[in-house]
Amino acid sequence: MNLLNLLLILPFLTGGVLSVIPSSRLAVKLNVAACSLTFIISLGLALEVLKRGTIQFDDHAFFLDPFNIFLVCLTTFVATTTSIFSGTYMLHEEEIGKVTSNQLRHYHAMYQLFIFGMLLALTTNNIGVLWIAMELATLATVLLVALYRTRSAISAAWKYFILCGMGIALALFGTILIFTTSSHVLGHSNEALTWTLLYPIADQLDSSVLTIAFVFLMVGYGTKVGLFPMHSWLPDAHAEGPTPISAVLSGLLLNVALYALVRCKTLVDGATQNGLAGYLMMGFGLLSVMIAALSLHRQKDIKRMFSFSSIEHMGLMTFSFGIGTFLANFAALLHMTVHSLVKSGIFFTVGHAAQSSKTQIMKKIRGLINLQPGVGVGLLTGTIAIAGFPPFGVFTSEFLLITAALETYPWTVGIILPSLVIAFAGLFRHLHPMVFGIPAREQKLLRVNMLPVYIHLGIALLLGIFIPKFLANWFQIAAELLSRGNV
């Protein structure tokens, strides 16, 4: 019974408990408490990793290395702040009768289940279990997206379900293919699916099988990451689900999917030795950045718009991991962190904005900075941060990313820079009238909880100004590890 088991069991049990607690206020409190507890536990684990480096639990079943530990911390942290936000938000939703207390019960249970899924996916040492966990997280979020039971919500959830179901099935096929060749080396058992054992023997695996496998993994997990052209579930799911869920989807689930993809990429590179996986990821990344940047302009729904910005940033990270040099990996890891912080913060603000103006249609949201200075400033700052202006961390990572790209494949910069500018223009042309100007009549003031937003932006700001030693250290080790290709 070590900390890790606790980390995994806690959300699972809480989910069970929450599914039977009728009082939504109590549920909210419990939710927050559980999340913060998991966060504390993850900090404890982080300390251990800090002391002892890579740790393995329950003989190879789970492992923590600098790469996934900070993702674990990030996940639990954002989960906590989101639960705080979702308290205020969902209770208001209940007041105005958008959700029944019964649905709210499901919501909380699924929320914890979802976190459990992600933590499992991050900490497990087994490719198969990783897949199961991803599927679990997907199923949980499918129900969450469908929470409002409106036409659009249902169809969005359906789209999400079918597309991601199919995608993830392809990922399973990839996993099976890996197993077919690895089982010849490591024998027909769990060892043949264990990261820590696979990496060292990567070069003995059949490269052509792994190539096919990676194609499937790429398309499969890529669907989950929201890469073009498998991205189309993402905007709908973000727009139709409750805002806290959009926040965690953008902030966490995409990261986890990308994490899985990167792990596979490292393995496959180890086997094929012909950076093919890297090229694939770069290609998908570039494509997604371009398409997302262009699509931003035509959006009408505020959450859809920001989900496209998520696609863009996921594209950037994928591209950066694809380059795979030390600097690029460092940039990607940093970008992962700041993006989930800033983007979830933005979604909190968007949630409040949408509530106060009773719509998600951007044309109807006006003059927030006059109506609700807190929300207005938050939205403006968040967008400036996500657009990559210093002193926010996103700038730092993009700075490093562009440098890395120029070092290796200079021509790609010719695609990235224009895309960044176009994306920026797309964001701001919509943002400007929403934040500034005179608010519309039907918009009304309401009690909001901006604390999480400010915490997130504050941390992003901090990371932009200076990166704490231990974090930098982790990033360096992780980047090192990814660029070398074995543990």
Binding site: N126, G128, V129, W131, I132, E135, L136, L139, V142, L143, A146, R149, T150, R151, S152, I154, S155, A156, A157, W158, K159, F161, I162, G165, M166, A169, L170, L172, F173, I176, L177, F179, T180, T181, S183, H184, H188, S189, N190, A192, L193, D206, S208, V209, I212, P235, D236, K300, D301, R304
Partner: protein
């Protein structure tokens, strides 16, 4: 070692049978037959893993064989049939494009997957390569099913067929995945089906039809 020989024969036969069922599913017009073929595929899968389990007497595989048999062969088709009856959609399955061309595409896909799996080296026994090829073909075909069918139910069946072909590949090519994975996957699939069930009624309630054309929200 003729048991291995027998096993090889059997698995090749079952592989071709499996491919056949996939084609049959691709070809079906009628919901009832569609589900029957689907359950047949499940049973085939179960028996195959049973055979493999017998020949490489590994008890894990028995479990997965039973799981496959009951879940895929009986339970899930039965549930689906119930739903179909309840929702009264046991009529013709409309397809996006006509059957013949669908079949043609399917055939092309089989060739394609053979071509794809050619470069796999001989280090693995060549049977595995053929199995992989067939598995690939089945995956692609079941994706084709999902793409060409209009009704939500048929799409789900397509999804499950996809799942089946994965299992088939796993079982036939590598004598099954480790038990944890097998069970986990199986339960995921089960949950998925349940959720599908929930969905059908939701969709039904909100759109009073299962035709996916109504399911689109134009942004």
């Amino acid at each position: 070692m003729n048991s291995a020989e027998v096993l090889r024969q059997l698995s090749t036969v079952s592989a071709s049978l499996f491919l056949l069922t996939s084609f049959a599913l691709l070809a079906q017009r009628h919901m009832r037959a569609f589900l029957i073929w689907f359950s047949f595929q499940g049973i085939l899968l179960g028996s195959l893993s049973a055979m493999v389990a017998y020949s490489t007497d590994s008890y894990e595989l028995y479990v997965s064989a039973i799981l496959a048999f009951f879940l895929k062969g009986i339970l899930i088709p039965f549930l689906l049939w119930k739903i179909v009856i309840r929702l009264g959609v046991n009529r013709e399955v409309e397809t996006q494009i006509n059957l013949f061309s669908t079949m043609l595409i399917g055939a092309i896909l089989v060739l394609f997957s053979y071509y794809v799996s050619l470069p796999i080296q001989k280090t693995i026994m060549d049977m595995t390569r053929n199995i992989i090829a067939i598995g690939l073909a089945c995956v692609l075909i079941s994706m084709l099913i999902m793409i060409t069918r209009r009704k939500a139910v048929t799409q789900v069946v397509g999804y499950l067929t996809l799942e089946n072909s994965l299992f088939f590949t796993a079982t036939a090519a590598t004598h099954g995945m480790p038990l944890v994975v097998e069970i986990g996957v199986a339960f995921d699939v089960l949950i998925a089906v349940l959720i599908f069930g929930v969905f059908f009624f939701q969709i039904r309630k909100t759109f009073d039809s299962l035709d996916l054309r109504h399911l689109e929200n134009k942004p």
